[in-house]
């Protein structure tokens, strides 16, 4: 997916680098550049990953939909279909379980000295991307558009004002945080 032209201009070098730096810094401080933390989530005894993701989602959701209501930002939801989203997601999941890093955290882990993240993560993901590029023409014709639902958002799907979803969802997520802390994960 290609975004607004402005994200390709030279003036974007500083924002891209700066935001990347902050993202990498946050990921490392948050602990999610560590194999043990990531796999600990998949094994359900360390909920750091979910806590970070859900906190980001609540914050991001509220801020971005607020800004959208003032006409300050647009949304860029990704295309979806059973053949692309579900299939790809499960393949990613199996890889994630074996590798123990995702693309972003693999880079972060390599940057803190993890050689398996460098070779298996960055190296493996690059190889995977190349393999996909070879498969794409076939997949695009036969698989990727099966059961498609496009770039729809939940407010559009349910035909409701976004805040009808955002507010209850945020409350549920915050309640979940209390549950996590009381269980001690």
């Amino acid at each position: 997916m290609t975004y607004d032209r402005s994200s390709h201009k030279l003036t974007q070098i500083i924002p891209a680098l700066g935001m990347g730096f902050i993202f990498g810094f946050l990921l490392q401080k948050g602990g999610v550049t560590h194999y043990d933390v990531l796999v600990g989530q998949l094994l359900f005894y360390d909920f750091t990953v979910v806590k970070i993701m859900l906190s980001a989602i609540v914050t991001g959701m509220i801020g971005i939909y607020l800004m959208k209501s003032f006409g300050l930002v647009e949304l860029y939801p990704k295309y979806g279909s059973a053949g692309s989203t579900l299939m790809g997601g499960l393949i990613f999941g199996v890889g994630f379980g074996l590798l123990g890093y995702c693309p972003g955290t693999a880079i972060g882990a390599a940057a803190q000295g993890n050689i398996d993240a460098l070779i298996g993560g960055i190296g493996g993901i690059l190889i995977g991307a190349r393999i996909y590029a070879a498969l794409f023409a076939y997949l695009d014709k036969k698989v990727l558009h099966k059961g498609e639902f496009g770039d729809i958002t939940f407010p559009e799907l349910l035909k409701v004002n976004p805040w009808v979803i955002i507010i209850p969802l945020s409350i549920i997520i915050i309640a979940l945080f209390f549950v996590f802390e009381s269980i001690g994960v």
């Binding site: 975004y3 994200s7 974007q12 680098l17 935001m19 990347g20 993202f23 810094f25 946050l26 401080k29 602990g31 194999y35 600990g40 998949l42 094994l43 970070i52 993701m53 906190s55 980001a56 914050t59 991001g60 971005i64 860029y76 939801p77 990704k78 989203t85 790809g88 997601g89 499960l90 393949i91 990613f92 890889g95 994630f96 379980g97 074996l98 590798l99 123990g100 995702c102 693309p103 972003g104 955290t105 390599a110 803190q112 000295g113 398996d116 993560g121 993901i125 690059l126 190889i127 991307a129 590029a133 070879a134 794409f136 023409a137 639902f149 770039d151 939940f154 407010p155 979803i165 955002i166």
Partner: protein
């Protein structure tokens, strides 16, 4: 200042930070945060240099041309940011095999690298197949309430949890 030398930050503070960062990505760069597209650009660029030919005949490289663009620069920043964070807390350390892996499968480097590469290949294929990874779909897409992203992130975790539990709880030698 000592906040920045801490080894670990609260996951809630970290997540809020990432959420706020997303606001700025939408405002300043008119795009969401994402990582997996950078790997397509990078591998296209690498291939161009190795084969010394235009790779543009491939339809996927037509969709995602091998050029230096926002996401590639973003992940360069990611690398430096994580490195800086590790340096500041003194947690930079070369490590071949993570301790959780070693506790179950031993410290054999070849075994770990082999499984890691296989996993990495599937992560690469899966991310592009799904149209995004845990950053692009898992954070940016979900906060936009995109249906594709919520399905993606559930699939990521179902696939990941099944695999990790098989590996660590069933196949443990």
């Amino acid at each position: 200042m000592s906040f920045f030398t801490l080894e670990r930050w609260s996951p809630y503070i970290t997540g809020i930070g990432i959420g706020v960062l997303s606001w700025f990505a939408f405002l300043l760069s008119r795009r969401p945060l994402g990582v997996s597209t950078a790997f397509v650009r990078a591998c296209g660029l690498i291939e161009m240099h190795i084969r010394k030919t235009k790779v543009s005949k491939n339809p996927y490289y037509q969709k995602f041309p091998p050029v230096i663009e926002w996401e590639l620069i973003f992940i360069a920043g990611l690398l430096f940011g994580s490195f800086a964070a590790a340096l500041l807390s003194g947690t930079f350390r070369f490590e071949m095999v993570p301790s959780l892996w070693a506790s179950c499968f031993g410290t054999n480097n070849i075994l770990r690298m082999t499984v890691a590469i296989c996993g990495g290949i599937l992560v690469g294929i899966g991310a592009r197949w799904a149209g995004g990874c845990t950053s692009g779909h898992g954070i940016s897409g979900t906060l936009q309430l995109a249906v594709s992203s919520w399905i993606s992130v559930i699939a990521f975790f179902v696939g990941g949890a099944i695999t990790a539990n098989l590996l660590f709880r069933i196949f443990v030698p």
